[in-house]
């Protein structure tokens, strides 16, 4: 039974097989059940077969979006067709909200840093943000509507309010964990408050903060989806909410996989970038 022990050394093929096993099992079970359901009821929409999903997805990705059926160019290239499609428009709308919200998280990093470095700023904000962090933003929607309307702003603010406190507190803790001796040493070498903050502390915590933002992307996405499902005219979650009304699982499942792929790529990209920028940073 040594292969189950801590010092087991599975070979390359074994690792490869093991790591893909659950994927394969999931896919097999899904299609087995889907097949059975379709044999029982050919019109079943709860668990679409692979051909239905492929058709659903290619329709979503290559057919022009409903609103502008007029300008259908039959012979245009795949890229042009993709760019006129429902999927592309939804991705663009959601992507825009996503990028703006993530960009708005960076001021939160600065706030956390300053709170840690300057005791007066810390005293002013810390208690409030600790409290604010525990507020479930989703349950305060009616107030958010008054403050930010129900258009783009409220969706972005929902994300920021939901995720920013976590980032602020994380940055705060990371900044505090930089050894005090370094700060003292900086002062003895004649550094100013700001060069201590930005050139000693911030430089060290930055890759960890990036990591923390990266790990919170899932939360960003959850709030984005919640916002789009509450009120919107476009976006990936808007489409999923609409399709749910008539059980369009043949498009919903590919959409969910598409979102997972995009999220994975963003996560992967940020991780790679972080290591490129900070080769000395070893945590993952």
């Amino acid at each position: 039974m040594s292969f189950l022990r801590i010092h087991a050394q599975p070979g390359r093929t074994a690792v490869w097989t093991l790591s893909w096993f659950l994927f394969a099992a999931g896919i097999v079970v899904y299609f087995y059940v889907a097949e059975q359901r379709h044999r029982e009821n050919p019109d079943d929409r709860v668990m679409p077969t692979i051909s239905q999903m492929v058709r659903g997805f290619s329709d979503a990705a290559l057919k022009p979006a409903e609103e502008e059926e007029t300008q259908t160019g039959g012979g245009s290239s795949i890229v042009a067709r993709f760019r006129a499609s429902m999927l592309w428009k939804d991705t663009l709308a959601s992507g825009r909200r996503f990028v703006i919200s993530v960009a708005l998280l960076f001021p939160a990093v600065l706030l956390g840093l300053h709170m840690a470095m300057f005791p007066v700023i810390g005293a002013f904000f810390l208690r409030f943000i600790l409290f604010f962090d525990k507020i479930v933003a989703l349950s305060l929607l009616p107030i958010l509507f008054i403050a930010f309307g129900i258009d783009e702003l409220s969706k972005i603010m929902l994300i920021v309010i939901g995720v920013a406190p976590t980032i602020i507190l994380d940055t705060f803790n990371l900044s505090k964990s930089v050894p005090r001796e370094q700060v003292v040493k900086g002062f003895t070498l004649g550094a100013s408050d700001f060069s201590i903050t930005y050139r000693i502390v911030f430089k060290q915590i930055w890759p960890r903060v990036l990591n923390s933002i990266r790990l919170n992307l899932k939360a960003v996405m959850l709030f984005l989806f919640a916002g789009e499902m509450i009120a919107s005219t476009d976006g990936l979650a808007y489409r999923i909410a609409l399709l749910r009304r008539h059980m369009g699982m043949d498009i919903i499942i590919p959409y969910v996989l598409w979102v997972a792929l995009l999220l994975f790529l963003v996560d992967f990209g940020m991780n790679k970038l972080n290591h490129k920028l900070h080769p000395w940073f070893e945590e993952r």
Binding site: P142, R245, M247
Partner: protein
Amino acid sequence: MLRLIFSNILRRFTICSLAMALIASAPVRAATPSFTVGWSVYVGWNPYYYMAKSGILRRWAAKYGIDIRVQRFDYAPSLDAFVAKNIDACAMTNMEALDMPAAAGVDTTAIIVGDYSNGNDAVIVRQNLTLAQIPGKQVMLVEKTVSQYLFERAMAINGLAAQIRQVHYLNTSDSDIASAFLTNPSKPVVVTWKPLVSQILKAKDVKVVFNSSQIPGEILDLLVVRSEVLNRADGSGQKFAKAITGAWYEVLKLMSAPGPASDKVLTEIAEASQDSLVSYREQLATTHMFYTPQAAAEMASSADIRKTMDLVRRFCFQHGLLGEKTQSVDDVAVQFPDGAVLGKPERIRFRFSAAYMQLAAQGKL
């Protein structure tokens, strides 16, 4: 090591005893067939809450030797559960019965026609806007539901069908639509249902320009059962349909008792949606309940319902609600109590049955 072995034994023991408990309980379950009814909060469906709570349902179920469970859902999940065959019967509108279970190949039978919306659903505008002024503006509603159906019927009836394409729908979740409309003066139109309508109308400068009393009998609230349950070989499905129909009309009779006699019952029914008696009575005023089985059976067998279902199925088909691959509106056919069919006879997916309501009318339940 010893501890490990011990925990292993313990685990095995637990699994064994669990398995035995399962085996022991299985025959008991099989003895009385059990059925689950899903309902969601709505003026015409709240009676299910009272039916279960008051023991009326238990009495009827016992009479037919079956078990009936009543479970509250949010509306959309109740439809999902019904389509996934997790529950046997469900309260839903005629439109959803067609575009959710029926279009997904789950053969569905409506056994009770409970009521129709007679003003519960409304198009509300700010600043005295008229229907003709709506094209080009934003309309808040839950897209692809009866709200959109009501709105498009309103436009069509007023000769504005061609302009529907210029309306910008803003899909808004029903749990937030009232507060979202009230706090955003920039959005001029909302389409929703009661009690949200009553809540919105308390605000200043808003008024109803169209409501469902102008299309009477088109938004029907039904109790539907999976046809395969109804046709079970052991006859338990029939017993279930009889029991629930019997219980339903017993409750409705209590509800319709004149004057203060019904106050106590209505107060308890209103509890289902955390409403007061006054508010529930106000909602009932815009709901045409079929209090007697005679009236309900008549409605189910009428020529009007055929016209309604034709309008509804065309609406669903035009908006892709019957599924992307459904080529023709006739592919999801509807059958009426006299056997007449709308659509292809070999593709009947949604049936209206007046049989149980008639049995109730004849006092044979």
